[in-house]
């Protein structure tokens, strides 16, 4: 019994963000007090309007804030028992945190396949392992296989989003930070991508923290969600519970959550 409780605690403490504040250029406050938890194998959403601080929160977790001349000026980020605030992004990628940036950020001049290869850089796989990993990604995203020799910049928005996720999967992550996967995509594609993410979570046990403006779609696929407003968490709860609340739609349009 005690053991079970302990294990439970450990899993909910897997990623813990404790009351962080993030400042850009030493002056601009982007996140003013965000706390959240992601357990191992969880799929969690970070919801909010444009400018609420979703991207900055993800960047604080992945270490990319430093590359934007920003820093976590207060609070703690603990991943697998280690304090990670201020650790460089490439080192956190080694720990299993990968960040799929808002707007995809595929390597436009590289072919689709070379994009995926770049995701394998970290692990120094043998040629054979690399081929197997590529096939695994193509199995998840069959569309990418047909475009493997195409320059990534010339593929469609949906394909680029799939490529960005596939490339991230090549690092064999434990935690995937997915920023605004629905941006600029047709509803059917958004649904397809979220379905794949949910399936990856269910079948491979990969944890996801997804930042989204598209509250409806996100709540249908995640189990728990946090709502951000002006750099603070204003509400949180189980996805089904949040989906039933009426004030959320109102809030999505820029109003206040009650």
């Amino acid at each position: 019994m005690t053991f079970a409780t302990l294990a439970g605690t450990e899993s909910s403490e897997w990623l813990a963000v404790q009351d962080i504040e993030v400042i850009y250029d030493g002056a601009i406050l982007a996140v003013a007090g965000v706390s959240l938890r992601v357990g191992q194998g969880d799929i969690v959403a970070l919801l909010g309007a444009n400018g609420a601080g979703k991207s900055t929160t993800l960047k604080a977790i992945s270490g990319l804030v430093q590359a934007d001349r920003a820093q976590v000026s207060r609070g703690r980020i603990v991943f697998q028992g280690q304090d990670t605030a201020g650790v460089a992004a490439n080192l956190l990628a080694r720990q299993g945190i990968v960040h799929v940036l808002e707007g995809r950020h595929v390597f436009a001049h590289l072919t689709v396949e070379d994009n995926l290869r770049s995701g394998g850089f970290l692990r120094k796989p043998t040629r054979r392992e690399l081929e197997q990993d590529l096939e695994r990604i193509y199995a998840w995203f069959p569309r990418l296989k047909t475009k493997r020799k195409t320059q990534a910049g010339l593929t469609s928005g949906g394909e680029q989003q799939m490529l960005a996720i596939g490339r991230a999967l090549m690092t064999q992550p434990r935690l995937v930070l997915l920023d605004e996967p629905s941006m600029g995509l047709a509803p059917m594609l958004v649904e397809e991508i979220f379905a794949i993410v949910a399936q990856l979570n269910a079948e491979e046990g990969m944890s996801f923290l997804v930042a989204e403006q598209n509250i409806n779609v996100a709540l249908r696929h995640v189990s728990y969600a946090y709502i951000l407003e002006n750099g603070r968490v204003v509400s949180e709860g189980d996805a089904t519970e949040l989906a039933a609340r009426e004030d959320l739609q109102h809030f999505y349009l820029g109003g206040k959550a009650r």
């Binding site: 992945s62 590359a67 001349r69 001049h109 770049s118 850089f121 970290l122 320059q151 928005g157």
Partner: protein, 293 residues
């Protein structure tokens, strides 16, 4: 007609050297967004080191190997002492840093190895070859061959290796590369080392042609028009740009020179670059943003 062909071929062969110098710039510019003003002094430093080692009685191969090592160590130092502390600064800051760096390297070279002109003998005899009735310089031909080989090795490195894919990834999108676990500092070290070695090859070929002296570092100014014509971000562009500049210089000197009293070579490349700036500012092969419409 023979005179035209001779002039053209001579120019193209000389142009391969311009290409080689320009490639050093492109490598660093693509990977770290820095216009490395110190590329010329790196080239001079490499050639001087090689000559000095040869004067100490070292064999050709050993001197070459040691110089390569010196260039790699130099790259590591530059990354650690100059680039890393200035990460995320503006382009002009980094440019100024490399400007300063070029004077430091030059001063260092002068202090360590002296300022006099040194002869560099690569053991290539400069006898004219005849293809039909066209005369070609054997030295230029071999120099062009070495340049082509260097480019081929670079192409393999960039397209077929794990490091190469990472280098191109960083050139395309630094943040995304970082998020995938690619260590930018390591990439910069590699790129500067490769640019140093390319500088060594270029430095030896130029040095053998005109002696190793401090004016060698001024090839940096020759590379600028090449880059403007070919595009700052394309190795292919650097190659084509170098060839265009080499050929145009030679042809202009031969055909337009007599009309205006000669002395065209020093400025014609800039004239050409200016025209390119009017009609094609990103150069022949410069990156335009790829976007799907």
């Amino acid at each position: 007609m023979n005179f035209f062909l001779e002039t053209l071929i001579g120019g193209l062969l000389a142009g391969t050297l311009y290409s080689l110098v320009a490639i050093g710039f492109v490598l660093i510019y693509k990977a770290s967004g820095v216009f490395n003003f110190a590329q010329g002094t790196m080239l001079l430093f490499a050639a001087l080191t090689f000559v000095s080692l040869r004067e100490q009685g070292l064999s050709f191969a050993l001197a070459l190997l040691l110089t390569v090592l010196v260039m790699i160590v130099g790259a590591l130092l530059i990354e650690r002492l100059v680039l890393r502390p200035l990460v995320n600064r503006s382009q002009i800051t980094l440019f100024m840093a490399t400007l300063g760096l070029s004077f430091i390297i030059e001063g260092l070279a002068q202090g360590l190895m002296g300022a006099q002109v040194r002869a560099l003998d690569l053991g290539i005899e400069d006898v004219p070859l005849f293809v039909g009735e066209i005369m070609i310089s054997q030295f230029d031909l071999i120099a062009a061959g070495v340049s082509a080989l260097t480019v081929a090795v670079l192409a393999l490195l960039f397209n077929k290796t794990r490091i190469g894919v990472a280098l191109r990834a960083v050139a395309d999108d630094t943040r995304a590369a970082l998020s995938l676990g690619i260590n930018l500092n390591r990439i910069w070290q590699i790129v500067w080392a490769v640019a140093g070695v390319v500088g060594l090859v270029a430095g030896l070929l130029w040095g053998a042609r005109q002696g190793v002296q401090f004016s060698l570092s001024l090839v940096v100014l020759k590379a600028l028009p090449v880059l403007i014509i070919g595009g700052f971000t394309s190795i292919g562009g650097a190659i084509v740009g170098g060839l265009i500049v080499g050929a145009a210089e030679n042809l202009a000197e031969a055909y337009i020179g007599p009309l205006i009293g000669g002395g065209i070579t020093p400025w014609f490349a800039y004239f050409l670059a200016l025209i390119f700036l009017y009609i094609r500012p990103s150069g022949l092969f410069g990156d335009r943003i790829i976007e799907r419409v």
